[in-house]
């Protein structure tokens, strides 16, 4: 099936070359970071995680979201999703690869990365995170490849693939739970120290991931000329809508707990993110309000059935949802965790240009991987007549 990568239209090659250029820029900038250190980023003594870890957190959710297609299809026998499952699985592969790269560029000593495996530390959540991410990557690669191969030869997938698929469903929940546990078990970080964080992560992942998938599929179906299936889109948007409602609800639970209890430590991060400080409004306040408005707007467009099923409005609603969740769970979550600092001062952070260029490079890698994998899937499915 790999040969499909090599046979494409000039547009396809131009797209890959464009991505290659972006990756190149990111890679060169990263060389500077390796040489100069993480001082090249906006991170500092009080805000020790920034844009990189924010993207990592968000993308783990994107990776986990493939389960929203797999679960209905394999646990409930919902056939409409079977056609597009492979796209979800292949997107998950791209997302996990980006997650890993974001962790690597965030490390001060990437050349010592294997220390995590050489000195396995079962009391560190990061050890588990590395394990579950590698596991999830393998699961999706094996399942995706094998099922596609079987589709090509028009035979039923072997039984063992089914067991792997069941495992991958539970695994998907676990990768995002473990990612939340990275933050939510830390004493003294009020914004993260909440049992509901893992649930929030899952809810936000299960709306943002399928929304991104659907958006990408809408673009690709125009280029590659195929139909996603009306029924599939309908069901997936209902899942997205419910998950987004749950996501917003859980966030509002946080707001209630913080402000009704009136405990300063719990109120401070939310106050900082949405109302700034005595000294004025940091940029992140505007950022968070954009996220809040987009979240509400996306729900307004998604909850009424008549609007949700309007194919002209849907891409906009999905786009707003993806942006809103990206703002909330990306930088919003990270900055909120570090403000206030352990000294009850307002620690500030803003990503720098090199930091953004390196991140862009990693997004380029993700897009490259997903492009190639989707190209294979589309070509194979077209040959087999299953698209």
């Amino acid at each position: 099936m790999l040969e499909k990568v090599l046979k494409g239209s000039p547009k396809y090659y131009m797209w890959l070359a464009f991505l290659g250029g972006i990756i190149g820029i990111g890679a060169i900038t990263y060389l500077f970071q390796l040489q100069y250190g993480l001082g090249l980023t906006g991170m500092n003594r009080d805000v020790t995680w920034g844009f990189y870890i924010a993207q990592f957190t968000y993308l783990v959710g994107i990776a986990a979201s493939a389960v929203m297609l797999v679960l209905p299809a394999y646990f409930h026998g919902y056939k409409q999703f079977k056609k597009i499952i492979i796209f979800g699985e292949f997107m998950a592969i791209g997302a996990v690869i980006m997650c890993m790269l974001f962790i690597v560029v965030d490390m001060g000593m990437p050349q010592r990365m294997l220390n995590v495996m050489l000195h396995p530390t079962l009391n560190s959540v990061m050890f588990y995170d590395m394990m579950v991410l590698i596991g999830y990557l393998c699961l999706n690669a094996i399942i995706g490849w094998k099922t596609l191969e079987c589709e090509r030869f028009q035979i039923a997938p072997p039984q063992w693939v089914k067991y792997l698929i069941y495992t991958s469903v539970i695994w998907a929940f676990s990768i995002h739970t473990v990612t939340a546990f990275l933050s939510q078990g830390l004493p003294g970080r009020h914004y993260w120290l909440t049992a509901v964080l893992a649930a929030r992560f899952l809810a936000s992942a299960f709306c943002a991931g399928p929304a991104l998938l659907l958006l990408l599929l809408m673009v690709v179906k125009k280029i590659a000329k195929f139909e996603i299936g009306k029924e599939a889109i309908k069901t997936l948007t209902i899942i997205i809508t419910y998950a987004m409602c749950l996501n917003v609800f859980l966030f509002l639970c946080e707001v209630f707990t913080a402000f009704y209890s009136n405990i300063p430590g719990h109120m401070h991060p939310l106050h900082y993110l949405f109302a700034g400080t005595e000294q004025g409004l940091p940029w992140v306040t505007y950022w968070m309000w954009i996220g809040a408005v987009l979240a509400i707007a996306s729900l307004v467009l998604l909850i009424p059935t008549s609007l949700r099923e309007n194919m002209k409005i849907l891409p906009w609603a999905l786009g707003m949802l993806v942006l809103a969740t990206w703002i909330d769970k990306g930088l919003g979550l990270i900055i909120g965790g570090f403000a206030p600092s352990p000294f009850e001062t307002w620690a500030t952070y803003a990503p720098t240009v090199p930091e953004l260029l390196i991140s862009l490079g990693i997004f380029g890698v993700g897009a490259f991987v997903v492009s190639i994998l989707w190209k294979i899937a589309i070509d194979v499915k077209k040959e087999a007549g299953t698209l």
């Binding site: 001082g39 500092n44 003594r45 962790i103 050489l118 530390t121 830390l186 352990p342 000294f343």
Partner: protein, 258 residues
């Protein structure tokens, strides 16, 4: 032939699984128990079951009082003086409200509020930094000191997110150009690793008290918290002391006489 290959695979997979389990089990026990030194200790070495520090904050008034300790520490450990938000700090001073964030009163003794206070690693009994470190580059010694291996640290900064006291610093850039005077008796750090106060473990091994304690005689006290006869225990009995953020349950080993 076929059978032998299968047998080989069986043996190979079993041994890999066994090795993995052994590594994993080793990880648990190593992390759970404090690390026992495998080297021979110096005959002069100062020993304790639980090292602790008592800072008499009433004794620190002028800038010189603080600077004496800070400079002694910075020289002893080659701590660079990097300006700005990416600074490296092992021991430093700050206002009451930044030090004791949970014990602030709107109206309180002006003298106490105006005073400044030292901050450093608390060498907690239940250190979150040790709990979160994925490589055991941060670990607890038998004597209660939370130590670091700069050559194992991968620079993930999980410990910095985990430490509720802001005691840790990261080398965002090469620290060496910022070291005023290099002390050849202690290693300098390289780019990309975390560092913090080590309670002068290297000096204790030579029978010397920590550099800051030595620089402030009678003002900072150091001793064995588990020994009821020790100086620190007597001071704690006789004086009202505070610790930073006791509600978090980390059990800090640095006490402040107010």
């Amino acid at each position: 032939m076929k059978r032998s290959r299968r047998q080989f695979l069986k043996v190979a997979s079993l041994s890999v699984a066994g090795l993995g389990a052994q590594l994993a089990a080793g990880g648990v026990t190593k992390a759970a128990a404090a690390v026992k030194p495998s080297y021979k200790e110096d005959a002069l070495a100062l020993k304790a079951k639980r090292w602790a520090m008592v800072i008499d904050t009433r004794e620190f008034a002028s800038k010189e009082d603080f600077d004496a300790c800070i400079n002694a520490c910075n020289f002893a450990h080659n701590v660079p003086e990097i300006p700005g938000k990416t600074e490296i700090k092992w021991i430093w001073k700050d206002a009451y409200e930044h030090t004791f964030t949970e014990t602030t009163n709107k109206y309180q003794s002006k003298e106490i509020e105006d005073r400044e206070y030292f901050m450093l690693c608390n060498h907690c009994e239940n250190p979150p930094c040790v709990r979160v470190c994925p490589t055991q580059a941060t670990y607890k010694l038998e004597n209660g000191i939370v130590a670091m291996d700069y050559h194992r640290c991968i620079g993930c900064r999980f410990c910095m997110a985990g430490c509720p006291f802001g005691a840790r610093s990261f080398n965002f850039t090469d620290p060496r150009p910022y070291i005023k005077e290099i002390n050849p008796k202690f290693p300098t750090r390289m780019i990309g690793v975390v560092e913090k106060c080590n309670f002068c473990v290297e000096r204790l091994d030579e029978g010397k008290l920590p550099a800051c304690v030595e620089a402030a005689p009678g003002k900072i006290h150091f001793g064995d918290l588990s020994d009821p006869e020790s100086e620190v225990r007597k001071l704690l009995e006789e004086n009202y002391t505070l610790r930073r953020k006791p509600a978090l349950g980390t059990e800090p080993g640095v006490f402040y006489i107010i």
